[in-house]
Symmetry: C2
Subunit: 459 residues, 2 copies
C-alpha cells in the first residue's frame, strides 16, 4: 500500500511506465545513502531520462503536494536521501549523457547522473580531467548539490569554483539556466552558487557545465610518515602558509593506515602520514617537491616514498579513497559514520589533537583523515547501527568536534553537507542568517515539496 | 527642498548630526559614478561609521519607505550609484578600519569602505597582498557588490572566489554574518555568493573577510607587441589553453597604447600589445616565461620588453590602470563609456575582430583593452555627454557587442555589473532565470528600498 495519491500514481504510470516503481527492494535502496543515518523510504521511485522528464515529475508532485527527493549515485553521508516525509525519490542515475565539450575552452556540459569516474574516463584520451574528487564515485549532480570537494580542492577549489552554470528544474516545474559559458560574469544574482550546495531543497539540478583542466605535464605523488600527529599537521600548515601549490595534501592517522593496509593489501608504514600530489611542468614540480621535502625534514618526518608511475599513484590514491570502506570493513555488519569539520588552517593542529583526546579509549573503531590543506578533516567511525548507546556515544563526540570547530571560526561541515545530520548545528553556526535561508527556501518552494526536512531546522 | 519625509530628516539629523547632509554639492557628488550614465541625485547623504549605524539608517529608511543607495568609492561604471527614485545615498567611505588579520590563515576582515590600495599598502610589510584589482581604487564593499575582478583574475579568481564571508545589513535593518573563516563549507545556502554581485539591491555589505596571498617570491612583467589584433589574441588563447598560470595577461590595442603613452608619459611601441605578469618561485617563473615567449614567437610577436624591478612594473601597470582615464582625457569635457563583455576564450578573437569592424570609421575616440585570459574585454569610448546622437551611436555599438557576446555563450558584463546600463540585456542573457532573481529580490526586500532600479528590469 503506497501513501501516494492514486491520481498521481496513475499519472506517473502513464507517463513513465516501468520507470515509475513502488517495488519494495527499489524503495529500500533509495531510502538512504552510505552512512549511519536511519533509512526513511520513499513511496515511489521515478527513473528520469531528461530535464523535461524531471520537470514533469516535479510538476505532478507539486500538483499533489508530494515531496520530491533527488537521487544520484546514493553516496550521501548526511541523510540527504532519506524520505523523511515520504514522497517520490527522483533517480537521475540514468541521465549519463555527456552533452558537449569544448577542448579549447576547457569546459563541458553533462547530465546530472554522470559520475566523476565516468567523466574522467571519457576525458582521459582528450588530455583533460575534472579534478573535484570526493573519494566516492558520486554523481556530478550530487556533487553540485552538496558543494563537494575532496582531495584536490587545495589546488583546484571545490564545486563552488568549478561549476560554470546549471540547468535546474524549479519547485514549480519550470526549467531555468543559471548562466552561460563565460569564465566570469557580473550579470545579476549568482543563481549558480545558490543551487551549488542547496542539497535539492530549491530545485533539481539536471545538467551541469563544468570547468576542466589539462592533465598536468608531470605528476608526482609521495607518502611521508611522522612520529606524531602534531608533526604531520605542522608540516601541512607550513605548506599552506608558504603558498606551495600542492595538488593534494591528505592526512591519515596511523589507525587509518592500519585499516587501509588491511583493506587494500598494502604495507604502508604504521605512522601518522601525509600523502602529497604535485602537478605541473617538470621544473615547477621539482621546485615544489624540494620545498615540501625540506619542510617535512624540518618537522621530523621521514623520507618520501615516491610514486611517479600512473599505476603506483592510482594504487596509492585508490587506497586513500577506500578509507571510508576500509574503516567500516574492520567490523562485521558495521555502518560508517563520518564526521566532517573544517577550520582555519592555524586552528587545525589544535582541533585534530582535541579530537584525538576525545577518541582516547573510545571503544568504537575510528580513524582520522583529512584534506588538511583546506583545514578539513573527518573521523570515520565503524558503528553498530543496532546499538542506540553506541550511536549516542558517537553523536556526543561528533557534537564536541563541531562545537570546537565553530568556536575557532570553522564550519560544521566542510564538504558532506547538512542533510539531516547537521541541522542541529545550523543556527549555532549561522545565527540569524538561518532565517534568511528560510526566507529564500519559502520564496522558491512555497509548497515545501523539495527534499523536505533537509538543511533547515523548520523546513 | 528635499523630497525626504520631514520626520526622517529629523531622525537622521538627531542620529547623525553633520554626517547627514542635503548639501547640494555633496548630493551632486553622490549622484553618479565615473562613467557616462546621467546623474540622478539622492535627496540626502549619510556618512556611516559602523555596521550598527548602517543598520540604523536602513531601519529608518524602511520605516519611511525611502530608497537606500550604498556608496563606496564612487568608481562605478554602470550607473549603480544613481538615485533613480531619490532617497538616501549611504556613504561607507569613512568605514576604513582593518578589523583583523591572520597571517597564518592568509585572511583579513575589513570594513567595506577600505579601498584596495589602502589594503595593499597596509599589507605590504606583512609580505601579503590582496590580488583583485579592477584598475580603479575601488572600495572593497563596492568590489564585493559588483563581483569585481580585473587584471589578476586569470590567476587568482574574482571577488566570487576571494570573499570568505560578509557582514550584511538586510533591507529590514537586521545584521547577519554570511559565514565563518573556514576555506570551504557545505553548511547551508551560499549567502556569501548571493551578496557578492548583488549591487546593493539585497542589503548593504558592511564588513568583508577576504583571502590574502603571500607576495610572490619572484615577479616578472613583460610587454609584447604584435603586428595584428588577431596574433595578439591568438597568443593569449594559446596561453590559456596550455594552462600556463600567468598572473596577468592584458590586451591593449594600438589606439590604447597611443592614449596611454600620452597620458602617462610613456613611449610604448604603437602596436597591439599583450602585457604579462608572472608570479612564483624563480624556477617556475622562468619556465612560464620560456613557454610564453615561445608562443609569442610562434604567433609573430616581437621580443619581450621586461620589467623586473618593482618600480618598472609599477610604472607599467599604473599605465594600464590609467587606461580608462587616458582614453577619456583625449577629448576635452568627455566622459568615459566602458563596454564590458566576457566570452568563452575560443570565441575571443572572433568577438574582438567583430568589435574592431564596428569601430571602423567611428568618429568617437575609442580603444580596446581586455583581461583576455578570462575572455573579458572592453571598449572605452570618450563620449561628449551633451550629444544625444553620439550617446545613441555608442549605445548601438554597445548593443551589438553584447548581442554578439550572448550569441556565443558569453555574458553582457564580465565585471562592471548590471547597474542601470545592462538591465535591457538581462532577460536576453538569462531568460526565465530573471524571474527567479525577482522572486529573491522581493523575498529579501519586499518594500523595494534597496538600490531600486538596478539589476532587475522591473525592480
Amino acid at each position: 500500500m503506497t501513501a501516494l495519491p492514486q491520481e498521481l500514481v496513475g499519472q506517473l504510470k502513464a507517463r513513465f511506465a516501468e520507470r515509475f516503481t513502488t517495488n519494495a527492494a527499489v524503495l529500500e535502496q533509495h531510502g538512504r545513502g552510505e552512512s549511519h543515518h536511519v533509512a526513511a523510504l520513499p513511496d515511489g521511485v521515478v527513473f528520469a531520462g531528461s530535464t523535461q522528464e524531471v520537470a514533469d515529475v516535479v510538476t505532478l508532485c507539486a500538483q499533489h503536494r508530494v515531496p520530491v527527493i533527488p537521487y544520484g549515485a546514493g553516496t550521501s553521508l548526511e541523510g540527504h536521501l532519506t524520505a523523511v516525509k515520504g514522497g517520490i525519490s527522483l533517480d537521475l542515475s540514468h541521465m549519463t549523457e555527456i552533452l558537449r565539450i569544448s577542448q579549447e575552452d576547457l569546459d563541458c556540459t553533462v547530465q546530472a547522473g554522470v559520475t566523476r569516474e565516468q567523466l574522467n574516463t571519457w576525458l582521459r584520451d582528450k588530455g583533460l580531467f575534472f579534478p573535484i574528487d570526493p573519494g566516492a564515485n558520486a554523481s556530478i549532480g550530487g556533487m553540485v548539490s552538496t558543494r563537494a570537494s575532496g582531495t584536490n580542492a587545495v589546488r583546484y577549489g571545490t564545486m563552488r569554483e568549478n561549476v560554470l552554470s546549471l540547468t535546474v528544474v524549479l519547485p514549480n516545474g519550470e526549467i531555468i539556466q543559471t548562466g552561460g559559458r563565460a569564465r566570469k560574469s557580473s550579470a545579476g544574482y549568482d543563481l549558480t552558487r545558490l543551487f551549488v550546495g542547496a542539497e535539492g531543497t530549491l530545485g533539481v539540478v539536471t545538467e551541469v557545465t563544468l570547468r576542466l583542466y589539462g592533465i598536468p605535464e608531470h605528476t608526482v605523488a609521495a607518502l611521508c610518515s611522522f612520529p606524531s600527529v602534531q608533526q604531520a599537521i605542522d608540516t601541512a600548515i607550513a605548506v599552506v602558509q608558504l603558498g606551495i601549490p600542492v595538488a593534494r595534501m591528505e592526512f591519515m592517522d596511523r589507525g587509518l593506515i592500519a585499516a587501509v593496509n588491511a583493506y587494500s593489501g598494502l604495507s604502508l608504514k604504521l605512522e601518522d602520514t601525509l600523502a602529497f600530489e604535485f602537478h605541473g611542468p617538470v621544473g615547477a614540480v621539482k621546485e615544489q617537491v624540494a620545498l615540501v621535502a625540506s619542510l617535512v625534514q624540518e618537522n621530523g618526518g621521514n623520507d618520501f616514498e615516491w610514486a611517479t608511475s600512473p599505476e603506483e599513484r592510482n594504487r596509492l590514491w585508490k587506497a586513500r579513497h577506500s578509507a571510508f570502506y576500509a574503516v567500516v570493513s574492520q567490523r562485521p555488519n558495521a555502518r560508517g559514520w563520518s564526521s566532517d569539520v573544517c577550520v582555519p588552517v592555524s586552528e587545525l593542529a589544535g582541533c585534530v589533537l582535541h579530537t584525538r583526546e576525545l577518541l582516547k579509549g573510545f571503544p568504537v573503531p575510528a580513524a582520522i583523515l583529512g584534506h588538511v590543506g583546506d583545514g578539513n578533516y573527518h573521523v570515520v567511525f565503524a558503528v553498530d547501527p543496532s546499538s542506540e548507546n553506541e550511536l549516542a556515544a558517537v553523536a556526543a563526540i561528533n557534537k564536541k568536534m563541531v562545537e570546537k570547530a565553530l568556536s575557532v571560526g570553522g564550519t560544521s561541515t566542510g564538504e558532506h553537507g547538512v542533510g539531516t545530520g547537521k541541522i542541529a548545528y545550523l543556527r549555532q553556526e549561522h545565527g540569524k542568517a538561518v532565517d534568511l535561508m528560510a526566507v529564500i527556501k519559502h520564496a522558491l518552494d512555497p509548497l515545501g515539496i523539495m527534499n523536505p526536512g533537509k538543511i533547515l531546522p523548520t523546513a
